[in-house]
Amino acid sequence: MEQFIRAFLVGGAICAIGQVMMDVFRMTPAHTMTALVAAGAVLGGLGWYDKLVDFAGAGATTPILSFGNSLLKGALAEAEMHGLIGVLTGIFEITSAGISSAIIFGFLAALVFKPKG
């Protein structure tokens, strides 16, 4: 039960921050998501995002910041094994599920559905 509460609170708080970015700072959704994904990479680099994931579980892995963190972790993991070139070759290792699913399900949606307007 506690897991759910933490996931709810942390996930909700991150989304609340996103809402402030959109309503107060008047950022578009695309700009907001872009800023958050970059923030995820930075927080990952500082070692803080993984701590948030340990604490909040899906509350930290569901927001788009997690995507940035995973991109960074992929780069670092590969660099540890193969040196600096690993930064290029490893970036998409961990985020593969997210990107593949989005492309595949997005394409399938275009096959099946028409826009409703």
């Binding site: 959109m22 008047r26 578009t28 959704p29 028409k114 826009p115 409703k116 307007g117």
Partner: protein, 335 residues
């Protein structure tokens, strides 16, 4: 003849022979639904894209106007038309089907009055027997082009507006007992630095004020010379701004004298946020609702100042602000 710098007084008062207004399914439930000639049952009109459906809407409005006028395509000398699609393809493809010599024009949502003004000038100068002026807009096509894919989950702010799915067409001639076009004022582009495509009302309001004020000066009339002064699609937001700007100039526009077509169509429906917009907005309200009111004797002289936001998706990305324009036409029907 020319009055002042940018107004025309039509010496021969071109007559409105017939006018038609058509709408989409959402419009069939709107506040002025009985002023439409026809509604389509869905946004697709059996086409495979929204853009192609918009062509059909425009063709439908033109066909209805011809039917009501008792005229054939061959009788019309010129078709003046414009819309919001890139390169005004809706108008061009409709003209392809109508086989009428075609003058494509663009001034965003003020196309209705720009086309009416130019059409009037052509007829007034004996340049034609019959001229048709038309315009259309389609909600989904406009969202897709100017903002986001229609199924995208971006939260719209309260200043956003709803593009009307519809088309309006009018046929002008030299004689007849219908309403007469008396004068027109061509607007200048006015840009007050508003750059939010979700707040068109604020972007266009200064142009509306500029054109209406110029019109009143150059025609040398007071606002209450008219029974109604209408702006095109400023919505509730832009409407308040226009009242505020006129108040600042010491001109009082009473609430029942000054209206905005964008607030008339749907009223305060939450789905449309700040009100209706799109080329069809001012066309439908003028050619449907206002002309009906004139025929019932409720209005004798009206001034319609259609407003347009002259941005493109690229200009916005290049950090340009949104320039506005407004063209005004006065119509009179004294029976």
């Amino acid at each position: 003849m020319l009055l002042g710098r940018q107004s025309w007084l039509f010496d021969n008062s071109p007559r409105i022979i017939a006018a038609a207004a058509v709408g989409g399914p959402f419009e069939s439930k709107c506040q002025i639904a009985e002023d439409f000639d026809q509604f389509t049952s869905d946004l697709w009109m059996e086409q495979d894209s929204f853009e192609k459906a918009e062509v059909k809407l425009l063709e439908l409005a033109c066909a209805k106007a011809l039917e009501k006028a008792g005229l054939k395509n061959d009788d019309i000398n010129f078709l003046l038309s414009g819309d919001l699609d890139n390169q005004i393809t809706s108008s061009s493809f409709a003209a392809r089907g109508l086989h009428i010599p075609y003058l494509g024009i663009f001034s965003a949502c003020s196309t209705s009055m720009e086309s009416l003004a130019l059409a009037s000038k052509i007829v007034d100068n004996n340049g034609a027997n019959y001229v048709m002026a038309a315009t259309a807009s389609h909600n989904a096509a406009a969202e897709k082009q100017f903002r986001y894919p229609t199924e995208y989950g971006a939260q719209k702010p309260p200043t956003a507006q709803w593009t009307v799915t519809g088309a309006g067409a009018v046929i002008l001639g030299k004689q007849g007992n219908g309403p007469r076009i008396i004068s027109a004022t061509i607007g200048k582009v006015v840009d007050m630095g508003i750059s939010d495509p979700f707040n068109m009302g604020a972007a266009m309001a200064p142009a509306a004020v500029d054109t209406i004020e110029t019109h009143l000066n150059e025609l040398n009339v007071e606002p209450d010379y008219y029974d109604l002064i209408a702006t095109g699609d400023l919505g509730f937001t832009g409407y308040s701004i226009v009242q505020d700007l006129f108040r600042k100039k010491g001109i009082c526009l009473k609430k029942n004298l000054y209206v905005d077509c964008g607030t008339i169509i749907y009223g305060k429906d939450p789905k449309v946020f700040s009100g209706a917009s799109g080329c069809a907005c001012s066309a439908i309200v003028t050619y449907g609702h206002f002309l009906n009111r004139m025929r019932r004797g409720e209005l004798k002289r009206i001034l319609v100042a259609a407003t347009g936001a002259l941005l493109s998706p690229m200009s916005y990305q290049q950090k340009e602000s949104i320039p506005g324009i407004a063209h005004a036409v006065s119509i009179e029907y004294i029976q």
